[in-house]
């Protein structure tokens, strides 16, 4: 190769190109891995999703719907009642059934 290129121009051009190509490929590889890792790009995994559903694990949308329903059902009074009950229980001042067992009546 060097004999056919006495001025070194071809070797220089090819070599610089190869160095750039090698590092550009690394650039794309690491950008891709970085995006995958940071969650910018998500791989679709339908099988895993199905398995999760089969095990009874709620999906994101389901969890959001449950949270919304609970929020609508419960109001400030409920939170206050739970807090008071917990406070009394933890201070050992309530014995509505027996020691170390707490009962909270359901809201009607």
């Amino acid at each position: 190769m060097a004999e056919k290129d006495p001025h070194g121009a071809i070797i220089t051009l090819v070599s610089v190109s190869v160095v750039f190509v090698a590092l550009v490929i690394l650039y794309f590889a690491y950008t891709f891995i970085g995006k995958l890792s940071s969650g910018e790009m998500k791989l679709k995994m339908p099988e895993k999703k199905k398995k999760a559903e089969a095990k009874g694990v709620p999906s994101g949308e389901e969890a959001a719907a449950i949270a919304l329903a609970l929020d609508q059902e419960m109001n400030g009074e409920v939170y206050a009642a739970i807090s008071m009950a917990l406070h009394q229980y933890l201070n050992d001042t309530v014995h509505d059934n027996e020691s170390y067992v707490i009962t909270i009546k359901r809201k009607r």
Binding site: M1, A2, E3, D5, P6, H7, G8, A9, I11, T12, V14, S15, V16, V18, V19, F20, V21, A22, L23, V24, I25, L26, Y27, A29, Y30, T31, I33, G34, S37, S38
Partner: protein, 380 residues
């Protein structure tokens, strides 16, 4: 009585004083200068002290035939020098470098890899000029690699392409690496405007452990497939990094970046220094090699800074690159990155460029190993 006088005369003929030439004295003076600069200026002391003392060892004149010289087959120094001649010290150094380098900055900003690629143009610029100065293609390739600013890579390639020039090439490479702050600063200031020097780069995103583990595996497979001749250097570099990042090989990583690299650095430094025997080293070619090495460094720094400016043409506001990190593409880890940091802080005390400059800096290590592999493929 005559026997005693004859014995003394014979002994005197063996002493260094009797065989000393002015060339030996010059080389010993250079060795002392290396040690002095390393101690007083703290420039690459881990390399310049062993090389400097090696120069003194190698230039004590002696009568040949006693099997003590570095070029005498079977001598102790010759056996230690095999690691340089056969090129097995540089990959071991790369193993240690891989085990001590944090590639997070590069992983979080992969676009800065391209600056490391641009800085390698210095290697090929010097290659072309060396050809025109009368060096053979193989010698020119070995000389050009000085611009990679990577001592082990320079030794590895010159041991394969031009073993007779290795002493001059290695000393030149390490000398200029020590002089990185002196050589690069004026070029950086010349090629950048005040506004560019004040650019603040976006904080890199955090990098997960998984990415750090994937990095050396993917990096090695891709680069080695493109340039298999760079495999010894690339393989050990990425392997060392995997030892560091895997989290389960801490002992191996600590050995690679501690005792192992220290032992090899001592051996490589002393033997390279020893190889600069006056009769081999003080030639017109060595002067040319020093000139070409400097030129290679200048071209590499220039290309790195200019490429960073070029990339800015395509970057959105707020995502611009401070071109002061362009110099770090020449490798010379971490000194070149420190130069970026120091020059950047001269203009804005709160602008810390070190973290960003480490990305092109380590990309330069990969780039110079790839460039060495390419030159070996073409010229070996």
């Amino acid at each position: 009585m005559n026997t005693i006088i004859d014995s003394l005369q014979q002994f005197l003929q063996y002493t260094g004083f009797a065989n000393m030439t002015w060339q030996h004295l010059v080389m010993i003076a250079i060795g002392i200068a290396f040690i002095t600069v390393a101690i007083l200026k703290d420039w690459e002391p881990l390399l310049l002290v062993p090389i400097g003392f090696g120069m003194i060892i190698g230039n004590i004149p002696f009568t040949e035939g006693l099997q003590i010289g570095i070029y005498e087959q079977g001598s102790v120094m010759n056996i230690l020098y095999q690691g340089v001649q056969k090129g097995w010290y540089p990959p071991l150094i790369f193993l240690g470098i891989g085990a001590m380098t944090d590639f997070s900055s590069l992983i979080s900003q992969p676009r800065l890899l391209l600056i490391g690629a641009a800085a390698q143009i210095g290697i090929f610029g010097a290659y072309v000029v060396a050809l025109h100065m009368g060096f053979t293609p193989a010698e020119s390739g070995a000389i050009g690699i000085i611009g990679g600013a990577d001592g082990p890579t320079a030794i590895f390639l010159s041991s394969k392409l031009a073993p007779h020039l290795m002493g001059a090439i290695a000393v030149s490479a390490y000398s200029y690496m020590a002089l990185v702050p002196v050589i690069q600063r004026p070029i950086m200031l010349l090629l950048t405007t005040k506004k560019e020097r004040l650019i603040r780069m976006k904080t890199p995103r955090p990098v997960s452990q998984r990415e750090k583990i994937i990095f050396p595996i993917v990096g090695f497979i891709l680069t080695a497939l493109i340039v298999p001749s760079g495999m010894p250097l690339l393989g050990m570099l990425f392997f060392g990094n995997l030892l560091k990042e895997s989290g389960v090989t801490k002992r191996l990583a600590e050995t690679a970046r501690g005792p192992l690299i220290d032992v090899v650095t001592i051996l490589i430094g002393v033997t390279v220094g020893c190889s600069t025997q006056a009769d081999v080293f003080l030639t017109g070619n060595s002067v040319k090699i020093f000139f070409l090495g400097l030129m290679s460094f200048v071209i590499a720094t220039t290309c790195g800074v200019l490429f960073a400016k070029f990339m800015n043409l395509f970057c959105k506001e707020g995502n611009k690159i401070n071109p002061l990190i362009g110099n770090a593409g020449v490798s010379a880890v971490p000194d070149a990155a420190r130069v970026s940091q120091n020059v950047g802080r001269e203009f804005d005390k709160n602008n810390h460029l070190l973290m960003h400059a480490m990305a092109p800096n380590v990309a330069g290590v990969i780039g110079s190993a790839v460039a060495a592999g390419i030159l070996l493929s073409f010229l070996g």
